[in-house]
């Protein structure tokens, strides 16, 4: 048995790269690490007082949107994860698969819920979609959507997005579901979790785990 977490995550003789683990457990979001960035309207967010509650972002009015990331504003992020050699693993769910303009989670250069902007690799849910989708966003805002075989639902899923040298891989619950090789990000990235509603109704995104690391 090894004595250190370091040795359990890194082969002997290798230098550990940047990694973050967030368990979303406690009385408040760790605001030394995360910032909430309002996108539109008056969404609310906070720790959930429930078993396996994690962190919630809730929209109630049409167009409400909010994200959390490592910066104080949409374009003022701390981007420590490589666009071509990093991974993010997270556990999330949404309260409904309707009424969602966009739910986007993954690694992004910007902090925004709409799955747009420039430079991102995201797990996307939209009312207009049938299946969970991998979206990559390139430097000029062009997007590639790769649909998975998994129908959008309200169950919790383990999502892994891995940014490689010439592709981005999308794994759901341990199964590789999609690969994008176009419109890949070309700038450094940070974790980004956001949601935007499409109508006046309660729409909640819940996150209970996030781990990002360079590979």
């Amino acid at each position: 048995m090894t004595d250190s977490i370091y040795d359990q995550l890194n082969a002997s003789g290798t230098v550990a790269k940047q990694r973050v683990v967030e368990t979303f457990s406690g009385d408040a979001l760790d605001t030394d690490r995360w910032n909430t960035v309002a996108w539109a309207g008056s969404p609310t967010s906070g720790m959930s007082n429930a078993v396996n509650g994690g962190y919630n972002i809730t929209c109630t009015s049409s167009g409400d949107g909010e994200s959390i990331g490592f910066g104080s504003s949409r374009t003022n992020g701390i981007a420590q994860y490589s666009y071509n050699s990093s991974a993010i693993i997270f556990v999330e769910t949404v309260s409904t698969k309707t009424n969602i303009s966009v739910s986007s989670s993954g690694l992004s250069n910007e902090i925004r819920p709409d799955g747009a902007g420039n430079n991102a690799s995201l797990h996307v849910i939209k009312s207009a979609f049938t299946y969970f989708t991998l979206r990559t966003v390139g430097v000029a805002g062009s997007q590639t959507d790769v649909s998975s075989s998994v129908t959008q639902d309200t169950a919790e899923h383990v999502v892994k997005i891995e940014n490689k040298a010439s592709s981005v891989e999308h794994t759901l619950d341990g199964v590789l579901e999609g690969i994008s090789s176009t419109n890949l990000p070309v700038l450094a990235l940070q974790p980004n979790f956001g949601i935007q509603s499409s109508v006046t109704a309660t729409v909640t995104k819940n996150i209970t785990y996030c781990e990002a690391y360079n590979t």
Binding site: I5, D7, Q8, L9, N10, A11, R19, V21, T23, F24, S25, G26, D27, A28, D30, T31, D32, M47, S48, N49, A50, V51, N52, G53, G54, A87, I89, V91, E156, H157, V158, K160, T171, D173, G174, V175, T208, Y209, E211, Y213
Partner: protein, 207 residues
């Protein structure tokens, strides 16, 4: 062989991980996930500037002064399927101290905690929920040693371990927790003097 991720140290990617957190109590200040509460008197909550110092509660100097650190009633751990592990130390025996999971940030109903009480000879497992609070003996004399404490909340029983040795069990229909819980570290002085207790690790997870 190294794990590719912290996630995969405890779960394969084919399994949705349940709520799980750990805290090292290392740094300049207590992480903002915790809330400190003065239940009685004015107590001091601070990181300890010492090797293996962790976090320290120092009670006020009046008998009965006591305080806790908790998640301010954000209860994310199941009463019937959770585990908490801590490394704790009570610096003197003339105190009441507790560590474990509790529905209330003042150690009220629905809890399962290590209980060290100044009037008792041994450490106890204190549980409440379905019925009045009950203390179950451990046969381990109260002392000031640093211990790894593990409390496992099952659907019909609660088991407590010291340094990986089972020391106490309570089963329903005796009182066991019946509502969701949060971590708690509690310290109370039972004399007119300040008392201290330390915690250097806490990990809780649903099972």
């Amino acid at each position: 062989m190294a794990f590719p991720s912290v996630y995969e140290m405890t779960n394969p990617l084919t399994t949705v991980r349940k709520q799980h957190f750990w805290e090292y109590f290392s740094g300049a200040t207590l992480n903002s996930r915790w809330t400190t509460t003065d239940i009685t008197g004015t107590n001091t909550f601070a990181m300890k500037d010492a090797v293996d110092g962790g976090f320290q509660i120092t009670t006020g100097g009046n008998s009965g002064d006591h305080g806790t650190i908790t998640f301010n009633d954000i209860r994310q751990y199941a009463h019937n399927g959770s585990t908490i592990i801590g490394v704790v130390k009570f610096d003197e025996t003339t105190i009441d101290g507790a560590f474990g999971l509790s529905n209330s940030n003042t150690l009220g109903s629905s809890h399962s905690v290590l209980w060290s009480e100044s009037v008792e000879s041994n450490f106890k497992l204190s549980t409440s929920g379905t019925g009045a609070r009950t203390e179950t003996d451990t046969s381990v004399a109260r002392d000031t040693a640093t211990r790894t404490v593990k409390i496992v909340n099952g659907s019909s029983d609660v088991n407590m371990y010291f340094d990986n040795v089972l020391v106490s069990t309570i089963s329903s229909p005796n009182p066991i927790p019946n509502a969701s819980m949060q971590p708690i570290f509690y310290l109370k002085t039972q004399s007119a003097a300040t008392k201290t207790g330390h915690i250097t690790y806490c990990e809780a997870y649903n099972t």
